[in-house]
């Protein structure tokens, strides 16, 4: 199971890198999106994977899943979204300049 996830992450990275190194205008953007997904998964996997563990704490229940990587990944998702959104505005800006010229 862990091996499968590790391979999946590796292939996501490979796909992201391939696109990142491309010459096109949005290649870097798409590459970064894919790399971001892979990076989030790496962080998430580092906390150990547990199926059907309680996500919330309540008395008398099994030990819940590790909340720390989850908190890290949650903000990573939002910040990653922010970065891509900002890059998109740069693409928009670049296109606008092309029209002006």
């Amino acid at each position: 199971m862990s091996i499968l996830l590790a391979i999946t992450i590796g292939l996501l990275v490979a796909a992201g890198l391939y696109r990142l190194l491309g010459p096109g205008r949005i290649d870097a953007l798409v590459g970064l999106i894919l790399l971001g997904q892979a990076a989030n998964l790496v962080l998430f996997a580092s906390g150990g994977l547990r199926h059907n563990a309680p996500a919330l704490i309540s008395d008398g229940m099994a030990e819940p899943s590790d909340p720390l990587p989850q908190a890290l990944v949650l903000t990573a998702i939002v910040i990653g979204f922010g970065i891509i959104a900002f890059l998109l505005t740069l693409v928009l800006r670049a296109a606008g300049n092309d029209h002006d010229a």
Binding site: A28, Q37, L41, F44, A85
Partner: protein
């Protein structure tokens, strides 16, 4: 801080005034400069008054105790005496600058830099910790760069100022390395602590490398051979700056450092040959160079070089007698060199020239400045009973005691320097002619030049009475014999004979120098060092631009590729691939779904990597995101799944909008083998890293702490949310700050007011309009509900804001009368700012009730717990919503035609 250090803080006052109110400095240049000068003079008087009977004081405050770095100050009779000299000459220089640069627009900067420079020099003198001393040391380099480069409009001046900066900074870098090694060898970075080790022989074991590194710092700073070339070049600065640099600061820092450590480090066998040799060569070089100069300031700079050479020579010997000579020579030089430079500035202003032949008879034409010049020049020549005479006597005496041969060589060198002094003085004294004054000088400039010259005279008159208390005490504190004192007459000693011989010889030297048909001797080594240094700097520049040209070929893929490969190689090197262990097989048995999902995710990712049609790309990316969300859900992370879903939706929305609007095609280029190899290697590397990370047995103290305390301390069952808004709220505050900045940056990049071209699709479809409105109105209450329950169930500010933003994004696709561009722009900005304010406010509220920053304040009612973390979450919600709005607003459809 002990009050004895307070006078050293006085330069802060003009510094702050000049920085805070530059306009006042410009409108009242002389008043401000005079006030600053009076303040510094008061500091000097306090400092000097404390010298007699001063017990050494050391005060320390920890800074980085693990590294031995502390803010430690020391004061003894010598450092107090030197600090008094710096403050006193600083006062004269400030007074002079107020007149010299009265009309300059840059006067406030000069006042600030001079004050800062004084502070930094005092820091060098008073620091007890070597690292602290280093910081002040570098500050003097930087500030002298600003001062020397005052006329920065001229390229020549910039070049010379940066040469001085580069030489001294390079030396400073070496010195830092040397300091670390000295610290490691003696196990202390305190100067007082180091000097206690003098005499126990431990210095002889110091590595030669450490000694050379420390010496490189001190010798470059004091412009000693072979680094002497920068100092004559640095006289391109204004006269008061040169006066300060040459008399009591900057170059004196180097010899001060050498003399301070001399009692300890002179035990090292290489100390004396290196230091004394460099000093003697500097004197010789200075004489040869000075013989050719006909510019008043350039000639003065050469005499400074020579004097520093003598001081270095004394520090190189390091004997008590040499240190006795060091103190009087240093004092005499500081007191005569400052008025010489200030007077040179006055003569330049009065007669409009610095050439010696045009200044013949200048003393007659400008008597007061002339008086300062003559007294100081006579002290330089060493005419009894001026301090310069004492300096020369004690110099020769100390060296004679060390080695008579060296003393004869020194006397010969001294004869050359005295010849330079005669070359300086005699033309100006010519009574047969006088140049025409072109301009009248302000009184303050004449006074500023006269004051240190009067100080020279006062020193002579008071010396018999005060020598034990002041200069003698200072010398003893530096390492001269106990109860040291200076007297004018020592009897018919060899030193006296050498001094007299040098004086007689100097007349011969001078007569040779002024004979026009005799070309002065060239310095055989002069064409070596400065060109070598300049070539080194130039070749570094060439190399850098060559590397730049090689890399900057306009292909981002190549540059990113270089970085990716470099990072990959580093990661691989750190991977320790020989040490290998697969993760323990986790027999959860619930992998079946994942067995299906993983190939889909990989397929989608490869599709995204090679997609050449926009729609394919969007769908593929959507699949990847969706499967990642499912994965989060499968492995017990519902919060992540929700966030991922929402962020993915918004991301695709934005991506689709941008691609549609700009018409950029997602064309994938033809297949490239190189890219594929790099990509697959990177993927394989990450796989190995993940496997290795997962195989580790984690100790989870942080997670366990969060799990244990979440419920009792933060009243939340959803630990992820509790971490975000309570335990690690400061991090979250930083994150939403980043988001707010990104939104502002996007507004700046796109321009707030420029009309945007509308989205090119028909938004008048009634189906779309109805569905969008319906979903939007459904999303808002859902968002509020997610927000409210976030602390105890999956949800929270981040997720709730993304849900609301998704709804709003849909609403923006249809025409809405109220959501016009202006409204959205203002709403986005206000939401971000208010959100940040609410978050920060919730963090600050505990301060009111004297609790620490970010402590949760709670209000309980039965099972209902309300607290500042909820308020903080509200701040997160508003900021994230405002952020999303800031981006989404660019994709509105064609607005209704304006009436």
């Amino acid at each position: 801080m002990s009050e004895v250090f307070f006078p050293a803080l006085l330069p802060l006052v003009p510094l702050v005034v000049a920085l805070a109110a530059p306009g006042v400095v410009r409108t009242h240049p002389r008043t401000i400069a005079t006030t600053a000068a009076v303040l510094l003079a008061a500091g000097a008087a306090t400092m000097l008054a404390g010298v007699p009977g001063l017990e050494p004081i050391r005060e320390a405050w920890p800074w980085v105790p693990q590294l031995g770095v502390e803010i430690a100050l020391r004061l003894d009779a010598f450092t107090a005496w030197f600090a008094g000299l710096v403050l006193g000459l600083g006062a004269c220089v400030m007074l002079h600058a107020g007149g010299y640069l009265a009309k300059s627009r840059h006067l406030p900067g000069v006042v600030a830099a001079l004050s800062g420079f004084t502070l930094a020099m005092l820091g060098v003198i008073l620091s007890d910790n070597l690292y602290l001393l280093f910081l002040f040391w570098e500050a003097t380099s930087l500030l002298s760069f600003l001062l020397v480069g005052f006329h920065h409009g001229k390229e020549d001046v910039r070049g010379k100022a940066s040469q001085a900066l580069l030489v001294t900074l390079a030396g400073g870098a070496c010195m830092l390395a040397g300091i670390v090694l000295v610290h490691a060898h003696f196990d202390t970075a305190s100067i007082v602590g180091l000097l206690e080790r003098a005499g126990d022989g431990s210095a002889a074991g110091l590595s030669t490398g450490a000694l050379v590194l420390v010496l490189l710092g001190a010798l470059t700073k004091s412009a000693q051979w072979p680094f002497h070339f920068w100092l004559p070049n640095a006289m391109v600065g204004p006269a008061p700056v040169s006066a300060f640099l040459h008399s009591a600061t900057m170059v004196k820092a180097g010899v001060f450092f050498l003399a301070t450590l001399a009692p300890l480090l002179s035990e090292h066998p290489l100390w004396t040959p290196l230091v004394a040799g460099s000093g003697l060569l500097t004197v010789a070089t200075a004489v040869l160079r000075g013989a050719r100069e006909s510019d008043l300031k350039a000639l003065l700079a050469c005499t400074t070089l020579a004097a520093l050479g003598f001081l270095t020579l004394l520090a190189g010997l390091g004997t008590p007698a040499a240190l006795l000579g060091f103190v009087i020579f240093l004092t005499a030089h500081a007191l005569y060199k400052a008025p010489l430079f200030l007077a040179a500035g006055n003569l330049e202003k009065t007669f409009g020239t610095r050439r010696l032949e045009d200044l013949v008879g200048a003393v007659k034409a400008a008597p007061f400045t002339g008086l300062a010049f003559v007294v100081s020049a006579l002290s330089l020549i060493g005419l009894a009973p001026l301090p310069g005479f004492l300096g020369k006597e004690y110099l020769l005496k100390a060296i004679w005691a060390y080695s008579p041969l060296l003393a004869v060589a020194t006397a010969l060198a001294a004869a050359g320097v005295l010849g330079l002094g005669l070359k300086l003085l005699l033309p100006l004294l010519d009574w047969r002619q006088r140049p025409e004054p072109k301009k009248a000088l302000p009184l303050s400039m004449t006074v500023a030049a006269l004051l240190p010259a009067l100080g020279t005279l006062a020193l002579v008159i008071s010396l018999p009475a005060t020598t034990h208390g002041f200069l003698g005490a200072a010398a003893t504190a530096l390492g001269a014999p106990e109860d040291a004192a200076y007297k004018f007459w020592h009897g018919w000693t060899p030193a006296f004979g050498l001094g007299m011989g040098a004086l007689v010889l100097s007349v011969g030297v001078w007569r040779t120098l002024v004979r026009p048909n005799l070309a002065p001797l060239p310095d055989p080594l002069e064409p070596i060092f400065e060109p070598a240094f300049d070539n080194l700097v130039a070749s570094i520049r060439t190399l850098a631009s060559g590397v730049g040209r090689m890399l900057e070929v306009g292909r981002p893929g190549l540059q990113i590729g270089i970085m990716v490969v470099a990072i990959g190689l580093l990661a691989f090197a750190g991977l320790d691939a020989a040490e290998w262990r697969l993760p323990a097989s986790d027999a959860t048995g619930e992998a079946s779904v994942w067995l299906l999902l993983a190939p889909v995710a990989v397929l989608a990712a490869f599709l995204a990597a090679s997609a050449s049609r926009t729609l394919t790309l969007l769908v593929a990316l959507g699949f990847v995101g969706l499967i990642v969300a499912l994965l989060f859900l499968w492995f017990s992370a519902p919060d992540l799944a929700l966030t991922q879903l929402m962020a993915e939706t918004l991301l695709l929305f934005l991506l689709a909008g941008v691609l549609k609007k700009t018409g950029v095609k997602a064309t994938a280029s033809s297949f490239s083998g190189g890219r594929a190899v790099v990509a697959l290697a990177g993927g394989a590397l990450v796989t190995m890293l993940v496997l290795k990370a997962m195989a580790l047995e984690w100790d989870r103290p942080v997670s366990d702490f969060h799990l244990t305390h979440s419920k009792p301390a933060a009243y939340g069952a959803n630990v992820v949310n509790v971490i975000l808004v309570d335990f690690r709220a400061l991090d979250t505050l930083g994150e939403i700050l980043v988001l707010a900045i990104a939104a502002l940056g996007a507004t700046a990049a796109l321009g707030a007011a420029r009309p945007r071209s509308p989205l090119p699709f028909d938004s008048d479809s009634p189906w779309l309009a109805t569905a969008a409105r319906g979903i939007a109105w459904f999303a808002l209450p859902v968002s509020l509900w997610l927000f409210w329950r976030g602390h105890n169930a999956p949800g929270g500010g981040f997720i709730a804001a993304l849900v609301a933003a998704t709804g709003l994004g849909l609403l923006l696709l249809v025409r809405h009368p109220r959501l016009d561009a202006r409204y959205l722009r203002h709403a986005s900005r206000r939401l971000s700012v208010v959100g940040l304010g609410v978050a920060l406010g919730s963090a600050l509220m505990p301060l009111v009730s004297k609790k620490e920053f970010f402590t949760g304040l709670w209000w309980h009612s039965g099972d209902l717990h309300l607290g500042t973390p909820l308020l903080f979450d509200l701040g997160v919600y508003l900021t994230v919503f405002g952020f999303c709005l800031g981006f989404l607003r660019h994709f509105r459809p064609n607005p209704a035609p304006e009436l």
